[in-house]
Each structure stands twice: as C-alpha cells, then as structure tokens.
C-alpha cells in the first residue's frame, strides 16, 4: 500500500511535467492542425540549452527557463515561418507530419554533433535533496518541477483566455474560416501559436534534464509518450491533455513500481489502443479531423 501511494505521488509529479509538454503540442494541433513530431526533440534541445547554461555559466536550471523559453519561442516561430507556412495548403496533414519529423531529425543530428551521444544529466547541488512527508518521499526537484509546470500552464491559460491574441487563437481553433473573415491574421496566429507551443518545451526541457539522463536520441521516448497523451486527451484539447498526462503519469509510475520499469512505457501504448477501440476520439476529444 505504501509503495502504491508513493508511486501515485511520483506519477502526479511526473505527469505535471508531461502535461506541460503535451499542452504545447495539442495547442499547435488546435491552431494549425499540425501534429508536431518535433516536440520531443525540442524538449531535448531545451534540456541541452539548460545543461550548457548550467555547466558553462553556472545558471540555476530552474532560473534558466527565463532564457530558454524565449529562445525556443523564436525557434518555433522560425520553424513555422520557414518550413510549415510554405507548404501546399491542400496537403498540410501528411506533409507537415513529415516536415516536423525532419525537424526532429535535424535537431537530433545537430545535438549529437555538438554534444556527442553519451547520456548526460543536469546535477544541481540540490539534486538529491528530498523531504519526507507522512512517510512518503518527495524530492525537491520533482516538486519544484511540478510547481513550475503548473505556473507555466497557468500562464498559457491566461494568455489564451485573457489576451486579444488568445481570443484570436481560440477563434482560429473553433473555426479558421470565420476567424479569418473577422480579421484574424491566420499567419500571425499560426506563427505565434507554434512559438508558444514550442516554448512550453523549454521549461519542460530544463525539468526533464534534471529528472532523467538524456542524449540526443531521447526524443523518440518522449514523442511516443506525448503522442499517446495528446491522442488520449483528444487532439486539440488542452484540458484533456493535462488530465491525460496526469492519468498516464500515475499509470506508468504504478506499473513501474508494482511490475517493472520496463513495462511502464508499454502501459501507455496498451491504454491508447484500448481507448481507441472503445472510444476512437480520445477520452475528452471534441470531434477532430482524423478521428472517427
């Protein structure tokens, strides 16, 4: 019982970080109908940026979020502007999937060239600090990571709900055609929206780098989990992806505690297939293109 509750606590804390990555990905899908296969690679890029800032300049990994987030925002805007915008508009679905995969490969290649392929991780002085609350272990890094993710998600929520830009984003998600007719600049919304989506990868990356060992190839593990989460949550639904991330975080953590860590990823995929069998639109999916 103790092990189970410990696993659930761990799962919620990890799930929060995945929620942040997945919310960016699902936001991008909502706005542009693009499945961003590069999200995992951008998280790894964020982790390496944090690693460099920490080892070279001694900047605290949590604080470096202030630097990496705007950087990855710019990367996202550049990718959208240079690679996705020129795509022939009548086949965006399949082509964008491949283009973002190419971006992922490119990022992986550049990172392997710059850092090599050995596993690294970010080890600040407080990496091993943990508290014991009612007999349950909560590590400092995981807790702060969870809080940081919540703060970023809150910021994203405020941007979407309280600003003029957010309003045009939501309009575009609901009905791109009407939004354009009402004077929403679709290209601008897409570029900034893509940037926001990739910016979430920055914060998630810093945290990911502290919680896991990583190398440039780690993005395959990440993207498989992220895709499962966004499909479960219903593509395009941010709330859905947050809940799905927490559910999957807990599920995989429980599986790895009770069975073996090897099968924790596997549980992701099995849950996904079961859900698709019973409810092809995902748990909370609004009717999106592509799903039945």
């Amino acid at each position: 019982m103790h092990a189970l509750i410990q696993a659930i606590i761990l799962g919620i804390l990890t799930g929060g970080v995945y929620a942040l990555m997945a919310s960016g990905q699902t936001l991008i899908f909502g706005i542009m109908k693009v499945v961003n296969l590069a999200q995992g690679a951008l998280v790894v890029l964020g982790a390496y940026l944090t690693y460099t800032l920490f080892t070279q300049l001694g900047i605290d990994p949590f604080l470096s979020v202030l630097i990496t987030t705007p950087l990855l925002f710019l990367v996202g805007v550049a990718v959208q502007w240079a690679l996705l915008r020129p795509l022939h508009s009548d086949d965006v679905g399949q082509l964008s999937l491949l283009v973002t995969f190419a971006v992922a490969l490119g990022v992986e290649g550049v990172l392997s060239f710059a850092y090599g392929t050995t596993l690294t991780n970010i080890q600040p002085s407080y990496a091993n600090t943990s508290w014991t609350i009612l007999g349950y272990q909560v590590s400092l890094v995981r807790f702060v990571a969870f809080v940081l993710s919540l703060v970023m998600l809150g910021l994203l929520y405020l941007i979407l709900q309280r600003t003029k830009f957010g309003r045009s984003v939501r309009a575009t998600v609901q009905n791109p055609m009407s939004a354009q007719l009402l004077g929403v600049n679709a290209q601008r919304v897409s570029a900034i929206g893509f940037g926001l989506g990739t910016a979430t990868a920055a914060a998630a990356g810093s945290v990911f780098g502290m919680l896991n060992s990583f190398n440039p190839g780690s993005h395959y593990d990440l993207i498989s989990r992220l895709l499962t989460i966004v499909v479960l949550g219903g593509l395009g639904s941010i709330g859905g992806s947050v809940i799905a991330a927490l559910v999957m975080g807990v599920a995989s953590s429980v599986v790895s505690a009770l069975a073996s860590p090897i099968w924790s990823d596997f549980s992701f995929f099995i849950v996904l297939l079961l859900v698709l069998l019973l409810r092809p639109r995902g748990l909370f999916g609004a009717r999106t293109r592509g799903a039945l």
Binding site: L83, G106, F268, F269
Partner: protein, 346 residues
Amino acid sequence: MRAGITRVGLLRAGVFFALLIAIPLVGAPGWILNTLIFTIMYAGLASSWNLVGGYAGYPSLGHVAFFGIGAYAIGILFSKDVHGGYVPFLVLPLIGLAVGLLAVPIGWVSMRTRADVFAIVTITILFIAQTLAFNLKSVTGGAQGSSVAPPPFGVDTFDWPFYFAMVILLAIAMGISFYFRNSKIGLSLATVRADEDKAHGVGVRVTAVKLISFGVSAGLVAMAGGIWAYYVGFIYPQFAVDPLITIGMVLMTFLGGRATLWGPVLGAFILIPAQEYFAQAFGASQLYLVAYAAVFLVIMLFLPRGILPTITQRLRSRRAGLAADAASTVQAPAAGTTARNERITR
C-alpha cells in the same frame, strides 16, 4: 492511368528487371551489389508502403514493426543452422503470410482512425514493437541482439542469393501494386482515398479493401525484413525496428510520387545512393542526420506531389496546351491527391 498491360509498360518493366538481373552477372564489384541490395530492398519496402500510404491514403508510420517481426522470425528459426542456405528463402512466403494475417487485426484497430490520428496510432505500433524487441529477452535476445547462422555461400557470389531474393520481392511488390491499380481493389482504394464516407455510402466495401491492402503491405514488408536479417546476420532492436526505415519508405514514396507504380522505386533509387554518399562524406558523425533532414525538407517544400506526378502533369499540359492546363489537374493520379485533400482540409 488505368490502362492495363501496355506494350510500353511491359517493355519498361522488362528492361528494368533485365538490367537488375544482369548487374551481378557481368561481375559488378561487391560494394555496388551491397548498395543495390539495400536500394532494391527499399524500393520493395516503399512499393509495399505505397499500397496503404499511397493507394488507400492511410499514412502508416509503423510499418517497420512488421519489418522487425520478419527479421526476428528468420533470426529465431535459423539461429543455429540454415539447412544448406536456401531454406530460409523458401520459408519467407510463410512468414509473409503469417505476418499479413497478424496485421489484419492490427489494421482493424488502427484504421478506425484516419489521417493524423492514424499516423500517431501507427507510430505507437512502432514503439510497441521496439519495446518488445528490447525487453522480450528470451525471444529476441534484447539489446545484445540475436544472430542468424552464417550461410555456406561461396565468397565470390555471397551476395547473389540475397540480391536475387530482393529483386524477386520487388517484382512481387510491383506486380501487386500493378494489380491493385488495374483491379476493383485499386478502384475501391481510390474511392477510400478520395472520400471514405461517400465510398461507404455508395456500397464500396471500405473496411475489407483497407484491411486487404494493410495485410498485403505488412506481409511484403515482413519478407523484406527476413531477407535483410539473413543478409546482415545480426539483429539488434535499434536497427531491426528503426524509425528511419519507416521514414525511408514514406519519404521515397513521397519523392517518387504517391499512388504511382514507379514512384516508390524511383524514390528509392535516388535516396539510398544519396544516403550512402552522405554516410561516406560525413563519416560516422551525426551530421549525416542533418543532411538527411535537409534533403527531406527540400523534397517536402519543393516537390510535395512527387517527381512522377509533377512530370506527368507538365508533359500533359504541354501536350494539351494551356487551355487544358486547368483540366489536367483533375486527372489521376493528381486527382486522387486533390480529392483526398479536400477531405483533409475540410
């Protein structure tokens, strides 16, 4: 485009395969044969992928899972002894059949979704296969890999059996591709690609043709995986279930032209030599990934329809003059793509 067997078509296929058969016989050096084996393998893989991704318009990103299953099947059956060397080739059709049947329920689940979601679901199939390959250690040997017993072929002609096996497989894949184009199955798949709901509405047996194309495609890919495993001798999970193999099939089909007979083959014969060149030029360094990604992006941005459809359209509009220019965009195979895209963007 659905013209049946024409003299030009027969001639083209005859010359192509005669050339392929002649190359080892005239004594081509080993490195050429080696590159060609992989090129022909990818031509076969891309042609098989095209059955699902091109004709049916379902962009599967998980096909390498079946490649891996085929590879491990050969690895498990022939880890100790290859019974004279040719038995594994004779067992291949059975492996193809078994994997094809196995793929039907997988296709049934995943083809309940469409477009992007289908792509994502098939990616998870890839990762499931990878996880299993790494962790079912008693079957696959895990990360240590497993091996196939070395075949007793002579040094000079060692590559020949594998080479001809790949050529035969490519011929089968292209034959099936040709049959699909000229039969009711192909026609049904074209309606699925154009508008699945309407096709279903007018009585096309949508699920049946989708599953046939998925099963056949998976079976062919598994056979290629089997030959590959026998040829390279060692099977490691990261190479047998490599996402780059899936991406290779997709990219080659896109480059040559989706839903065409020769497009995937053309794509493979351009990309694999290019890839070999990059690997040579940049050595083991990962810059090769960057170069590959760059080629990838250039194709997607400048040739989104693929080489063959673009050329056919150019030729046609030149022949028909400017007046018919607009009309030519409504002809196959571009017709398939355009019609399907309407569904996607809707």
